[in-house]
């Protein structure tokens, strides 16, 4: 049936209203289906004005759906085409590009475009940020849902919302004026580097991880908890042996979503990471990520130049990676449904 034709039965909302009404859903949707059928049968007698309203509503709604699809396809298409230019037009070898460690785009006669240090930098920042955010985030989620059920939620929910709302440049600014000098005073180096980037991004993704992890833990059925306590288990044993395993795929989803955000973060990282173009030797060495090199170099390149094309290729890697993160999340949610 074309989506333009009016549809009068209420659909089952599987997957939309996740766990919330699972128990009642079947009986209710049956009831509403019956109601819906009655209306459909009586429809021909309805006045025409209402029919127009129906059509108008549908048109508004479908415009939105098409805009969403058009935007997604356009982004994918345009960025792919532009990102491939470096390989198709400028003749850069894609393997050399991904595995090369030398980034010397302006060297006379013999430029080289090895993006590996940036790819490495992006993954390093992402993983380190997850290491910062995952334990604190999941523990805070446990606090909200298991330890202080009554007021933990009330106290932490606003904290999460405010942390989410703080703009990324502000995190970057804090990193620049607090974290970088602190690392410099501790290690004696520049202070700019992977570690500073990872801490800044880790704090940034903390609220994302916490709120999704809290939702995941909340959706573990109470029966499991009661059963565990009835067996004489302590709170920690219940958390460790029952709740975490039950919520594991969702907890992983929380961390992966956080990592996806960390991977794409640009300006906050650029302000503190130091933007050096080699693979760093240690945590406190300056490094660069895909996003930082794009923000740093874009304004200095002329469009159509090889360097400019290569920057678009780095953008394409970002795009591909966000698809990869989506696939991982899908895989995890499939596992969640199976278990």
């Amino acid at each position: 049936m074309s989506p333009l034709c009016p549809v009068y039965t209420i659909k089952s909302r599987k997957g939309v209203c996740k766990m919330a009404f699972k128990g009642q859903q079947d009986s209710l949707s049956l009831a509403s289906k019956t109601g819906g059928r009655l209306i459909r049968e009586g429809f021909s007698f309805k006045n025409i004005l209402q029919k127009n309203g129906e059509l108008r509503g549908k048109i508004i709604i479908l415009t939105s759906a098409f805009f969403i699809i058009a935007a997604t396809m356009a982004i994918t298409l345009f960025l792919t085409l532009q990102g491939l230019r470096a390989f198709t037009v400028d003749g850069i070898n894609i393997i050399d590009f991904i595995t090369g460690t030398e980034w010397q785009p302006n060297r006379d006669g013999n430029p080289s475009y090895g993006a590996l240090p940036f790819i490495f930098g992006s993954f390093a920042v992402t993983v380190l940020a997850a290491l910062v955010a995952a334990p604190i985030g999941i523990a805070s989620a446990l606090f909200m849902t298991e330890i202080a059920r009554k007021w933990g939620q009330k106290a932490l929910q606003p904290v999460i919302e405010i942390l989410v709302g703080i703009p990324s440049v502000v995190y970057g600014l804090i990193g620049l004026s607090v974290i970088v000098p602190f690392i410099r005073s501790q290690t004696g180096g520049l202070g700019f580097g992977l570690l500073a980037g990872a801490i800044v991004v880790g704090i940034m993704i903390l609220p994302t991880v916490t709120s999704i992890a809290a939702d995941a833990i909340k959706s573990v059925p109470d029966d499991l908890r009661h059963a565990s306590y009835a067996l004489g288990a302590t709170k920690w044993q219940t958390i460790y042996k029952v709740i975490i395993p039950a919520a594991l795929p969702s907890l992983l989803t929380a961390v992966v979503l956080g990592m996806a955000r960390a991977f794409g973060e640009a300006l906050a990282v650029q302000m503190v990471i130091g933007n050096a173009r080699g693979i760093p030797d240690s945590l406190v060495d300056p490094a660069a990520t895909l996003t930082t090199i794009i923000t740093l170099s874009m304004g200095h390149t002329t469009s159509g130049s090889v360097l400019n094309d290569v920057l678009w290729s780095l953008g394409l890697i970002l795009l591909v990676m966000s698809y990869v993160f989506i696939l991982i999340i899908r895989y995890l949610s499939k596992r969640r449904k199976l278990s």
Binding site: P3, V7, I10, K11, V16, C17, L28, S29, A31, S32, G36, L38, I39, K46, K51, G53, K58, I60, I61, T63, S64, A65, F67, I68, T72, A74, I75, L79, I136, A139, S140, I147, A155, V159, E161, G165, P167, S168, V169, V170, L173, L176, V178, I203, L206, T210, T234, I239, L257, R261, F263, G264, M271, T295, S303, G315, L319, S322, Y323, I326
Partner: protein, 294 residues
């Protein structure tokens, strides 16, 4: 005994983590406000920014932030709520809706710098809108739309099944039911979500870097003709927003008092975001009270 000890230890660790999180927020806010509030003065808020001398203000950046936010919301809210309604109420579990859902998911998880690059390619260069408010607002729409779609969908989902069935049982068409029953019932949820999104858009920077530009003409606040070059309302002028300003004074700027300007601007930004948050909660509560008639 051993397991009890472990229990205590583990629980104190969990509590410690929660404290760390609250402490981080307190430290962040404390630091930004402590550093920044002393920089905020009437003249800081109402004077033009300076390209190279010390003592510039943030008047235009502040205006640009609000203006871009307004245009973005103008585009996003109708489209996004409509998309949410479609997914929650109309869409069957077909491959088509699954596809729309995937698209929403992809859009929601795109890094904002990728959206910015797309904006540069398509809006700035291809459509020839240049670095402008319009390019920035449309890029932000791309990136904010999926969030509003989800907010709406979730809010509609939490409307009880009884209300749905009741609406339909009264013999209303589906659109009529949505308009008269679901939307009012879901309104507080949607409103809160939209205002929280507004806070996010207000602080967005990476997507605007390549679309709205790094500079702003000195605006003439007596000229409200949207076609005039230095009018605050002109959609086709470049517009540096507050958050982009914080980045640019630190990363590419040449003014000597970058630190002070950035601190002041950050404080203004954070205060605005906090206000959005507060307003969202208050409004949500008030509207809900009115709706439920208590």
């Amino acid at each position: 005994m051993n397991s009890r000890l472990l229990n205590r230890l583990a629980i104190s660790l969990i509590v410690a983590c929660a404290v760390v999180m609250v402490g981080t927020l307190a430290a962040l806010l404390g630091y930004i406000l402590y550093q920044g509030v002393s920089q905020i003065s009437w003249s800081f808020l109402t004077s033009d920014s300076s390209a190279f001398q010390a003592g510039g203000g943030i008047k235009n950046q502040l205006w640009n932030s609000f203006y871009i936010l307004f245009i973005t919301m103008l585009l996003t809210v109708p489209l996004g709520t409509a998309g949410g309604i479609y997914l929650a109420e109309y869409a069957k579990q077909t491959r088509f809706t699954a596809f729309i859902r995937s698209c929403v998911e992809v859009l929601a998880s795109l890094p904002s710098i990728v959206v910015g690059m797309f904006g540069l390619l398509v809006f700035v260069n291809y459509f020839n809108w240049e670095y402008s408010i319009l390019s920035g607002a449309v890029a932000l729409t791309v990136f904010n739309l999926p969030v509003i779609v989800r907010v709406t969908e979730n809010a509609l989902c939490s409307v009880s099944e009884e209300q749905r069935a009741a609406g339909l049982a009264l013999g209303m068409t589906q659109w009529h039911t949505i308009k008269k029953v679901f939307l009012p019932a879901a309104f507080p949820g949607i409103l809160t979500g939209v205002i929280l999104c507004a806070g996010r858009v207000f602080g967005e920077s990476a997507a605007l870097l390549f679309t709205a530009g790094l500079s702003s003409p000195n605006l003439d606040f007596t000229n409200w003709n949207p076609l005039s070059a230095n009018s605050p309302l002109n959609l086709f002028r470049s517009a540096e927003t507050l958050s982009v300003h914080i980045w640019s004074v630190n990363s590419v700027g040449i003014i000597p008092d970058a630190k002070e300007v950035a601190a002041g601007a950050a404080a203004v930004l954070v205060i605005s975001v906090l206000t959005f948050n507060l307003v969202a909660r208050l409004l949500g509560r008030i509207v809900e009270k009115k709706m439920t008639g208590k």
